[in-house]
């Protein structure tokens, strides 16, 4: 259809006006996409640490403190409240619990030392898949350890080096990659019994974290309630709890994003309406010519409409790209990963398209109602 060719050429003819109109739509969409994507990226990252260690829930004992939403909170809270390792077996018996894995964590200064059961290879503070060099632990291991890559680099440790923690000396048998967002970040990992003995006050038979995997994710809340009731002072933390920690922030973030975007969209529409009216006014004579050669009102309306919609479409596409770029930048500075959400993309694009179409309504109506003779008289 010639209207598309004509529309594109008209937009190119009025480069400055087209660019400013498109810039308006870009700002609207980029703001929406950037804010919503950043908020959702943050939300997703809060539940990721649990998934990374293959668990649905961790149980610790602590005072009820409102956490900050990262693993640091848990690491800071769990060291003072050990419980008997025999409780782990009982936790595993709770209805709906598929597996309970014991972990003992200890901290001295900035260094975190963790005892794990190496037979648990699917749910654990560190998994075989985290090993980047050397090997994973075995149940028969004595004074050997896995060391996080970051800690190894800081202390010039390699596989075969010795690492000291408290009164124990351990040979490094593997280097493990510990994600910064890991809910239970640690520097040194040893066999659980070795770790229990290696601590200053003999901690044999004690742990302070239970990693819990459930048979049915829908039962997480019920299991959490059961654990609280049976182990007074226990603090089960599930993915939903982590999400809830930041839920208010996320909701506020998304609401704000939408409100800002709608306000910007209104401005963009008004600006584009004004701009399109000026374009229609400049082209009054052209519109008269088109009517004289047989264009109907709907043909003229389509023409102006397509021009507005095209600006919205281009603004929407560029805005989505810019918005994701901004979101990626913010999330990467917070060490969070970006997730491309089709809904956010569609919503951003729809906002631009609707704004573009809305901006074309009045100018196209004004253009269509011109009589050809009046339009042709315009100089």
């Amino acid at each position: 259809m010639i209207t598309h060719v004509y529309a594109l050429k008209e937009l190119r003819r009025r480069k400055y006006r087209t660019a400013t109109n498109i810039a308006g739509f870009v700002i609207v969409v980029a703001t929406l996409v950037a804010l919503v994507t950043t908020a959702r990226g943050w939300e997703a990252s809060t539940v990721e640490p649990l998934k990374e260690i293959g668990t649905d829930m961790i149980m610790i004992y602590s005072a009820p403190v409102v956490p900050s939403g990262t693993g640091c909170y848990i690491a800071n809270q769990l060291f003072s409240f050990p419980f008997n390792q025999s409780d782990i077996a009982e936790i595993a018996e709770v209805d709906g619990v598929d597996r309970a894995v014991p972990v003992l964590m200890h901290r001295m200064g900035a260094v975190v030392f963790t005892g794990i059961d190496p037979t648990e290879t699917e749910t654990n503070a560190v998994l075989p898949s985290n090993v980047v060099e050397g090997r994973y632990l075995t149940p028969d291991d004595g004074a050997v350890a896995l060391v996080s890559c970051e800690y190894a680099q800081l202390n010039n440790l390699t596989v075969g080096s010795d690492v000291r923690y408290m009164k124990g000396m351990y040979e490094v048998v593997g280097l493990v990659n510990v994600d910064a967002a890991n809910i239970l970040p640690s520097h040194i990992y040893v066999n659980l019994p070795v770790g229990q003995k290696g601590l200053p006050n003999d901690s044999t038979g004690l742990v302070n974290v239970a990693l819990i995997r459930v048979s049915d994710p829908r039962k997480v809340d019920a299991i959490s309630e059961e654990l609280r009731n049976r182990w007074l002072g226990a603090t089960p933390i599930a993915a939903s709890d982590l999400a809830a920690i930041t839920a208010d922030v996320i909701t506020i973030g998304e609401e704000t994003a939408w409100n800002i975007s709608i306000a910007l969209a209104v401005f963009a529409v008004l600006f584009t309406v004004r701009s399109q009216l000026a374009a229609v006014s400049e082209r009054t004579r052209e519109i008269g010519i088109l009517k004289a050669i047989g264009w109907s009102k709907s043909d003229v309306v389509s023409q102006i409409f397509i021009e507005s919609a095209l600006q919205g479409i281009i603004g929407g596409l560029v805005g989505c790209a810019v918005g994701y770029g901004v979101a990626w930048y913010f999330l990467s500075t917070m060490e969070r990963s970006l997730t491309v959400n089709p809904f956010v993309l569609a919503a951003g694009f729809a906002v631009a398209l609707i704004s573009g179409v809305a901006a074309g309504l009045y100018p196209s109506w004004r253009a269509a109602k011109l009589t050809p003779a009046d339009a042709l008289r315009t100089v």
């Binding site: 259809m1 190119r12 004289a292 042709l376």
Partner: protein, 232 residues
């Protein structure tokens, strides 16, 4: 040349009301008959009402009183949709200032008249190229109006006017922006093409040399057509 009248005008008047409240009688009680295939020229000074008369004949404007019948269609009684169809199928316009769309190429300007008919793109391209060749613009289909001379621009406008094979061609000062030599070429082109296709032409002008191509010459002054008719 047929014997039937393609254009019949009875008691046609057009009054404009200015913002000041003053009324201007642009066309005043005009009667006119134009037989099929005739080339009619209306000569008059600026402001005599020539363009308004053409606009009324072509359905671009509505008469205050009177009746306009073109090829059996009473233009003055048409609704908006029928008027669009009338302008698309029955008449072709050529304007003094060419009135081409500046962003469209010569071919696209011709296509702009064909597009509303629903003609397929390939057919439109073929027809616009053929029309441009017929007005002497072979090889210039892809040029923008600004890249064409004044005479060439008017040729594009003529090709556009002929695009839908209208029954009536309305020429509004077609040579007004052209030098005499080019103006004569344009008039010759319009004359030959319309004769070849059996079209009826109404040209309004103040250029004397237009008489050479005219079957019937009328004079217009203060909105009135003189009864003096000069048969060739």
């Amino acid at each position: 040349m047929g014997n039937t009248n393609v254009i019949e005008v009875r008691g046609l008047s057009r009054v404009y009301r200015l913002k000041s409240g003053e009324e201007v009688q642009a066309v005043n009680n005009v009667d006119l008959e134009v037989p099929d295939g005739q080339f009619l020229t209306v000569i008059g000074t600026s402001g005599s009402g020539k363009t308004t008369l053409l606009n009324l004949l072509g359905g671009l404007d509505k008469p205050t009183t009177g009746k306009v019948v073109v090829d059996g269609v009473e233009v003055s009684g048409l609704g908006e949709a029928e008027l669009v169809r009338f302008r698309r199928e029955k008449v072709g316009f050529v304007f003094q200032s060419f009135n081409l769309i500046p962003t469209l190429t010569a071919a696209e300007n011709v296509e702009a008249a064909l597009a509303p008919t629903g003609m397929a793109k390939a057919e439109r391209v073929e027809r616009s190229t053929s029309l441009l060749e017929s007005v002497g613009l072979k090889g210039k289909a892809g040029r923008l109006p600004v890249e064409l001379s004044a005479g060439e621009q008017q040729r594009v406008a003529i090709a556009r006017a002929f695009a839908n094979e209208p029954k009536v061609l309305l020429l509004d000062e077609p040579t007004g922006n052209l030098d005499t030599v080019t103006g004569k070429e344009i008039m010759k082109l319009c004359h030959e093409t319309s004769k070849k296709q059996g079209q009826t032409v109404v040209a309004v002008t103040h250029a004397d040399y237009v008489k050479e191509y005219t079957d019937q010459l009328l004079y217009m002054k203060d909105g009135k057509l003189s009864n003096t008719m000069l048969e060739k």
